[in-house]
Amino acid sequence: MSGRPNKSMAPDVKEEQRVIVEPSDWELVRKCQTGDVGAFQELAAKYYQKVFMVILGILNHREDALEIAQETFYRAFRKIREFRGGSTFYTWLYRIAVNQCIDFQRRQRRAPAEVREAIDELLYERGEHGTDPYDALEGKEVMSRLLAALNDLTPDHKAVIVLRAVEGLSYKEISEILGCSEGTVMSRLHYARKKLQEKLAHFL
C-alpha cells in the first residue's frame, strides 16, 4: 500500500457532501459556545442517528447505546467551548462517543447471555413491527449472527468497522478518532472484516 489514497476511485465517497455541510456546523458550534442550546439541538438532530448507530455497533445493546449516546451529546455540550475547529465537528463528536463506549465497557463487563438477550429482544421488536426489509437477505438470521459476531471483536476492531460502515469515514478520520495510525486502521479493518466473514460464511 503506497501513495496517496485515490478518493476518486472510492465507491462511496462523501467528501463533497462534508465540505458543503461543514461551514454550517461551525456556525452552530460558535453559537453553542455562547451557550445557545437551540443551536446544539440542531447539531444533535443532525448527528444523533449516526452517533447512536456507532455506539450500538460497539456496545451491541440498545438501552446502553441510547444512554451512552445521550451522555455523549451532553459531554459534547459541556466541552464545546474547548472545540477550536482543529478537526471536523463530527470527528470530535465520534471521538467522544468511542471513548464513552470504551469507558462504559471497562466499567461494565456485560455477560454474553445478556448480549444474546439484547439481540433476541431487538429481533422480537423487529418482528412485532411488521414487514422485515431484510427478509430477502435472510435478514433476521444474518443480523442475529452479525451482531453476535461483532460482539466477539475487541472494542477497537468494532470501532473501526462500525465507523467505516456507518459514516464511510476515511482511514485518516478514523485514525484521528481512535488516536492510532492509518496503517493500524487498515489492519484492524482487514482483521475485523475477515473475522465477520468467517462467522457469516454461509450468509454472505
Binding site: P5, A10, A44, Q49, R62, V162, R193
Partner: protein
C-alpha cells in the same frame, strides 16, 4: 494481471474504501474483473458492509429525535441544577450569613492599620518618606516643643518660656506639623 489473488485480497477492503493509490487501484480493478474468485470476495465484502449498515440503521430507526433530545435536555438541566446547588452549598461555607460583618470589619481594620503608620511611623511598614513632626505642650508659660525627623531619626526638644515667643524655629516647624 500483475497482482496475485493473495495480495489483491489483502487490499480489497482498502480498495473498496477508496484508500489505495491510483496505480494500485487500476491493478486491483483489472485483477478483480478477470478473476471470478476475487470478484466473489468483493461481493462478500460489499454485502457484509451493506448488512452491517442495515442492521445498525434498523436499530437506530426506532429512536425518535424527540425522545433522544429529551434525555440530553434532562442532563443539561440537571447539570445546571447541580452547578447551582454546588454554589448554593459553597457560598455559605465561604461567607456564612452570621459572619457577614467580617468583610467590612476587615476592610476597616486594614485601612486603620495603614493610617496608623502615618501617626506611628516608627512601626516599620508603609511607605518610606522623610517626615518631620512637631509636637508642643503649653505649660502655663513654660512650654515644651518636640521635633522628630524620620530619615535621620533625629529628635530635638525645646524648653522655652512665653517671653521667647519671637523664637522662629518651633513656630516655623509647627506649620507643617502633624500632631
Amino acid at each position: 494481471m500483475t497482482m496475485d489473488c493473495e495480495s489483491v485480497r489483502r487490499t480489497l477492503g482498502a480498495w473498496l474504501d477508496g484508500e489505495v493509490s491510483e496505480k494500485e487501484s487500476r491493478e486491483i480493478r483489472a485483477h478483480v474483473e478477470a478473476c471470478p474468485s476475487c470478484r466473489a470476495e468483493r461481493s462478500r465484502l460489499e454485502r457484509l458492509q451493506f448488512v452491517l449498515r442495515a442492521a445498525l440503521e434498523e436499530g437506530a430507526s426506532k429512536v425518535t429525535f424527540e425522545s433522544f433530545w429529551h434525555g440530553i435536555e434532562r442532563r443539561i438541566s440537571q447539570g445546571r441544577v447541580r452547578h447551582r446547588e454546588f454554589w448554593d452549598w459553597l457560598r455559605p461555607v465561604i461567607l456564612p450569613r452570621r459572619l457577614a460583618w467580617v468583610i467590612p470589619v476587615t476592610v476597616v481594620c486594614v485601612l486603620a492599620v495603614l493610617f496608623a503608620e502615618q501617626f506611628f511611623f516608627g512601626l516599620g511598614w508603609g511607605p518610606r518618606s522623610n517626615v518631620a513632626a512637631v509636637e508642643s505642650i503649653d505649660g502655663h508659660g513654660f512650654n515644651l516643643a518636640l521635633l522628630r525627623e524620620s530619615e535621620t531619626k533625629t529628635t530635638v526638644i525645646w524648653l522655652f518660656e512665653d517671653e521667647e515667643e519671637d523664637e522662629p524655629a518651633p513656630e516655623a516647624a509647627s506649620t507643617d506639623a502633624s500632631l
